[in-house]
Amino acid sequence: MTLIDHLPVLAVIVPLLAAPLCVLIDRARPAWLIALAASWLSFGAAILLLLQVTQSGTISYHLGGWPPPWGIEYRIDLLSAYVLLIVTAIAAVVMVFAWHSVESEIPSERIARFYAALLLAFAGLAGITTTGDAFNVFVFLEISSLASYAIISMGRDRRALNAAFQYLMMGTIGATFILIGIGFLYMMTGTLNMQDLAALLPEVSDTRTVRAGFAFLTVGIGLKLALFPLHLWLPNAYAYAPSTVTAFLAATATKVAVYALLRVLLDVFGVEFSLQAMPLNLILMVLGLVGIVSASLVAVFQDDIKRMLAYSSVAQIGYMVLGIGLANTTGVTAAILHVFNHALMKGALFLALGAIAYRLGTATLRDFAGLGRRMPWTMAAIVIGGLSLIGVPPTAGFISKWYLVLGTLEQGLWPVTLLVLFGSLLALIYVWKLVEAAYFKPAPANAPAVAEAPLSMLIPVWLLVGANVYFGIHTDISVGVASQAATQLMGAGG
C-alpha cells in the first residue's frame, strides 16, 4: 500500500498526532508551526480525496486491515469528502490567522496547549466526517467536544468559563443521547457499521426500540447542531471564546453536526423512515423556520457583534435544517450547499471580527463607529461577508438561498418561501447596522488611534471573502458536488 491508499485516515491522523507533539514541545511558536503544517497537510489530503471520490466513486478504507463489520471502516463518499474539504480548508486558513490573534488573547505559557486542544477538536471533526462506524462517530464527537470546551474556556473574558461550562452540560447531554441511540440500534441489529445498519434496519424498523433510538439520535445531534430550541449554549460559547476558536467552530463544528444529521437520517435510517414514516420532515421544517425568524430577530437587537453573528448562525442552521425538512432533492442540495457557503461566510466574518478585536480589544457596535476609514480592508471584508449572509448576488449566499427557495416552491410551500425571504430581510437589518456605524458615523473624539490589521490576518480573511465571491459566480464545484451528494442520499432511501 502506498501513502495515497491511506489518504482517508491521513486527514484525521495528522492533526491527532500533531496535538501531543505540541504539548511535548510546549513552546508557542513551534507549536503554532506544527498546527499550521498539520492543518495544511490535512487540507491537501482532503483535496486529493475529493478528486478521488469524484473520479472513482466511494472509497472504503479498513482501519488496521480489519474488514467491516468487525473492524472500523472509513468510508468516504461524496458528502463526506465535501464536508471534510470544508472543515480542513477552514482549519488551514484559520491557523494562518491564529498566530497574532492567539498571541494577543492567550497567556504565552498556555499557547502550546491551546494549539494542542485546537488540533484535537479539528481531528475529531475530521474523524466524524470520514468514519463509517457509528460508535466511532461518538468517539470522535467526544474528542472534538471535550477539546472545544477547553479552548472556549480560554477566552479573555471570565464569562468564557461559564459559557464553556454551559456548553459542556448541553454537549454532554447531547453526546449521551447519541450514545443511547447508537446502543439501541446495536441492540436491534448487532452491528455498528453504518452501511450494515442501513441494510439491517428496515427489517426491524417497526419496533419501539428503533424508534426510540431514532429519537435519541435526532435530539442528541440536534443539541450539537444548536437546532432551535436546543441552541441556548451557542451564543455565549461563540461570544466569549477566543476569536480564533469562534471562527473555527462557527465555520466547522455545526457544519459537521449537519453532516451527522444528514448521514443518520438519510443514509442510516433512510429517507422513507426518517422523513415519511416518522413526521420528522414537518418537525425539522417548523423548527428550522422558527429558528430562522426568532434568532434573526434576536440578532437585530444585539450590541456585541460576536453575539449578533452567533445568533445569526443559529438562524443559518435553521436554513440548513429547513432544507433537509423539505425532503426533496433540491432542498437537500440547498442544505448541503449552505453547509459549504455558510462556512465560507461565517469564517470570513468571524475572522474579520477577530482582526477588529485584535486592534480594539472588543467588538461592540459602538467600536464600529468610523471604522470604515480606520480599518478599510477589514471593514470591506465584513461588508462582503455580510452581503453573502443576506444572500445578495453575486455572492455564495445567494446561491444557497436560490436553491432553498426553489426547494420550497417545488413543494408548493409559498408561505415558507416568504419566511425565508423575511429572514434575508432581517439579516439585511443587522448587517446594515454594522455598515451604518462603520461608514456613516464619525469615530468618537476620544477613540484610540487604530491601524489596519496585520497582513497575516488580512490574507486569511480575504481568502475567505474571495471564496465567497468566487463560489457565488462559479458554482460548478460547490453546487455540482452538493447536488450529486443530495441525489445519492435521496436515492439511497428510495
Partner: protein, 488 residues
C-alpha cells in the same frame, strides 16, 4: 468596436470614473472634470451602440453564470437603450449643475458624493441593458445601496432617518416580492430571459399569473406605487442634484422601466390584457396618480411638491403598462423619456432657488421671476411639460397614453388622465403666476440676490430647451419605443 466591447465599456466607464474621482480628490476641478468627461464618453458609447444596433441580433455580454441558464448578462433592447441614452446624456449636465450647486452650498464630503453618483450611473446602465430579470435585479439592488450615501449626505439625524426609510422600503419590497416572483418564474419556466411575448406558456394558470404580476409590480418599490411610495419624499433630504438626476430620472425610472420590461418581456402585452391583476394594478396606478396630485397641491415645500408630482407621473407609466395594448406600452415608454427632461428641469430650478435665494417654500416665491428670469422661465417650461400641454415634451407621451386607454376602452384610465391634467395645472401654474406677476413680499429679508450662478443656469437652460425640442422632434425616442412593441 464590436457590440460586446461597447457593452463592457458602458459598464466600465462609470466605475472607472468612480475610481478616478477618488484618485483626484485633492483637486476639485480635476475631480469634476473626470465626472463630466466620463459622462460625455458614456453618452458617446451608448449612442454608438444605438447607431450600430441590429435589433434582430443584439450582442450579448455574459459577465458570469452562477446557475446554469441563469446568467449575469447584458443584452440591449430598444427601451433599455432609450433609458441608457437619457441617463447618460443627463449625467454630464447634472454634474455641471452639481459643480455650481455643491460649491455654492458649501457641501461637505464632495468626493464621496461624486463617487457614489458615478457608481449609481453605472448601476443604472446595468439596469437599462440587462438581458434578463436576474441581472436587472442585481443592478437594481446595487443602485439602492449606491444611492444611500447620497440620500444621507447631510449626515443629520433627519437624513439618517430618511435613509433608513429609503433603503428599508426599497430593499424589503424587492427582496420580499420581486425576488420571490423571480424565483417562482424560474421554477415555472426555467428562464428569466427577457423574451418577446413573455416567457409563460399556456400551462400557467391565470390565478398564478395574477399573483406573479402583483408580486413583480409591488416588488418594484422604485416605481413608487402607493402604498410603497414613502421613500421618495423621504429621499428629498438629499442635495438637489441627487433629487434631480436620481430621484426624478435614474432611480425612479429604473422602477417604472422594470415594470414595463416585466409587462412587455416577462408577461407580454397579450397576457397582461387577459389577467385580472392588471386591472387591479391599473386602478391602483390611477389612485396613485390622483392621490399624489392631491397631496402635491397641499405641499408648501417646493421639493416635496415636486416629489409627489413625480409619484403621480410615475404611475402614468405603470398605467400605460397595465393597459395591455401596444399603444399603452408606447405611451409608458415615451413617458420615461418625456417626464425626464421636464422633471429634471424643475428640480434644477428648485435647487437654484434654494442656493441663490435661500427659499424652499412655494409661498415665498412671490415676484421671484423678476430676479431670476432664466430660472423661472425654465420652471414654466418644465411645468407645461408636466401638465402635458404643447409645446413641451409631456404632450407627446400623454397623447399616446390616451390613445392606449382608448384602444383598451378603459374609461377609468381616460378619466384619470384628464382629471390629473387639471390637477397638475392646479399645483404648477400658481407657482409660475406668483413668480412673475405677484409683487414681492415686503417682509422678505433675502431679496438682494440675483440670478443663479453660471453652471446652474447653463444646466437648467439646457434641459428646458430639450424639453421643448423633443416636442418638435420626437422621432428618435418614438422609433425606439415602437421597436420595443414590434414583433421581432
Amino acid at each position: 468596436m464590436s457590440g460586446t466591447t461597447l457593452l463592457s465599456l458602458i459598464l466600465a466607464v462609470p466605475l472607472l470614473a468612480a475610481i478616478g474621482v477618488v484618485l483626484t480628490r485633492a483637486n476639485p476641478n480635476l475631480r469634476e472634470g473626470v465626472s463630466i468627461g466620463a459622462g460625455v464618453i458614456l453618452f458617446a458609447l451608448v449612442a454608438t451602440l444605438t447607431g450600430n444596433m441590429d435589433w434582430h441580433a443584439p450582442p450579448t455580454l455574459v459577465l458570469a453564470e452562477p446557475v446554469p441558464g441563469l446568467a449575469l448578462a447584458l443584452t440591449p433592447e430598444p427601451l433599455g437603450v432609450l433609458f441608457a441614452l437619457i441617463a447618460s446624456f443627463l449625467w454630464p449636465i447634472t454634474t455641471i449643475y452639481a459643480l455650481g450647486y455643491m460649491r455654492a452650498h458649501h457641501e461637505q464630503n464632495q468626493t464621496r458624493f461624486y463617487t457614489a453618483f458615478a457608481v449609481s450611473i453605472g448601476a443604472t446602465m446595468g439596469i437599462a441593458l440587462a438581458g434578463n430579470m436576474f441581472t436587472l435585479f442585481v443592478f437594481y439592488e446595487i443602485l439602492s445601496v449606491a444611492t444611500y450615501p447620497l440620500v444621507t449626505h447631510a449626515g443629520t439625524d433627519k437624513a439618517k432617518q430618511a435613509g433608513r426609510i429609503y433603503l428599508g422600503l426599497l430593499m424589503s419590497t424587492s427582496i420580499g416580492f420581486m425576488l420571490f416572483a423571480m424565483i417562482w418564474t424560474w421554477q415555472l419556466t426555467g428562464t428569466l430571459d427577457f423574451t418577446h411575448g413573455g416567457v409563460f406558456g399556456e400551462e400557467v394558470s391565470e390565478g398564478v399569473l395574477s399573483i406573479l404580476l402583483l408580486l413583480y409590480v409591488l416588488g418594484t418599490g422604485k416605481a413608487a406605487l402607493m402604498p410603497f411610495h414613502r421613500w421618495l419624499p423621504a429621499a428629498m433630504v438629499a442635495p438637489t442634484p441627487v433629487s434631480a438626476l436620481l430621484h426624478a430620472v435614474a432611480v425612479v425610472k429604473a422602477g417604472v422601466f422594470t415594470v414595463l420590461k416585466v409587462s412587455v418581456y416577462i408577461f407580454g402585452t397579450d397576457t397582461i390584457a387577459r389577467i385580472a391583476a392588471a386591472d387591479w394594478l391599473l386602478v391602483l396606478a390611477g389612485f396613485t396618480i390622483l392621490m399624489a396630485s392631491l397631496i402635491a397641491l397641499r405641499k408648501d415645500n417646493l421639493k416635496a411638491r415636486l416629489a409627489y408630482s413625480t409619484i403621480s407621473q410615475l404611475s402614468y407609466i405603470v398605467l400605460g403598462a397595465m393597459l395591455g395594448v401596444a399603444a399603452g406600452a408606447i405611451g409608458g415608454g415615451m413617458h420615461i423619456a418625456m417626464h425626464a427632461f421636464g422633471k429634471i428641469t424643475l428640480f434644477f430650478c428648485a435647487g437654484a432657488i434654494m442656493v441663490t435665494a435661500h427659499k424652499t417654500k412655494v409661498s415665498e416665491l412671490n415676484g421671484i421671476g423678476r430676479r431670476m428670469p432664466w430660472t423661472m422661465g425654465a420652471f414654466a417650461i418644465g411645468s407645461i411639460s408636466m401638465i402635458g400641454a404643447p409645446p413641451a415634451a409631456g404632450f407627446i407621451s400623454k397623447w399616446y397614453l390616451l390613445m392606449g386607454a382608448l384602444d383598451a376602452q378603459q374609461l377609468f384610465a381616460i378619466a384619470v388622465i384628464v382629471i390629473s391634467t387639471v390637477l397638475n395645472a392646479a399645483y404648477f401654474m400658481p407657482i409660475v403666476y406668483a413668480a412673475f406677476f405677484k409683487a414681492p413680499d415686503d417682509s422678505d429679508t433675502h431679496a438682494d440676490h440675483g440670478e443663479a450662478v453660471l453652471p446652474i443656469r447653463l444646466a437648467l437652460i439646457a434641459t428646458a430647451t430639450l424639453a421643448v425640442l423633443v416636442f418638435f422632434f420626437p422621432g428618435a425616442p418614438l422609433a425606439l419605443v415602437q421597436q420595443m412593441v414590434a414583433s421581432p
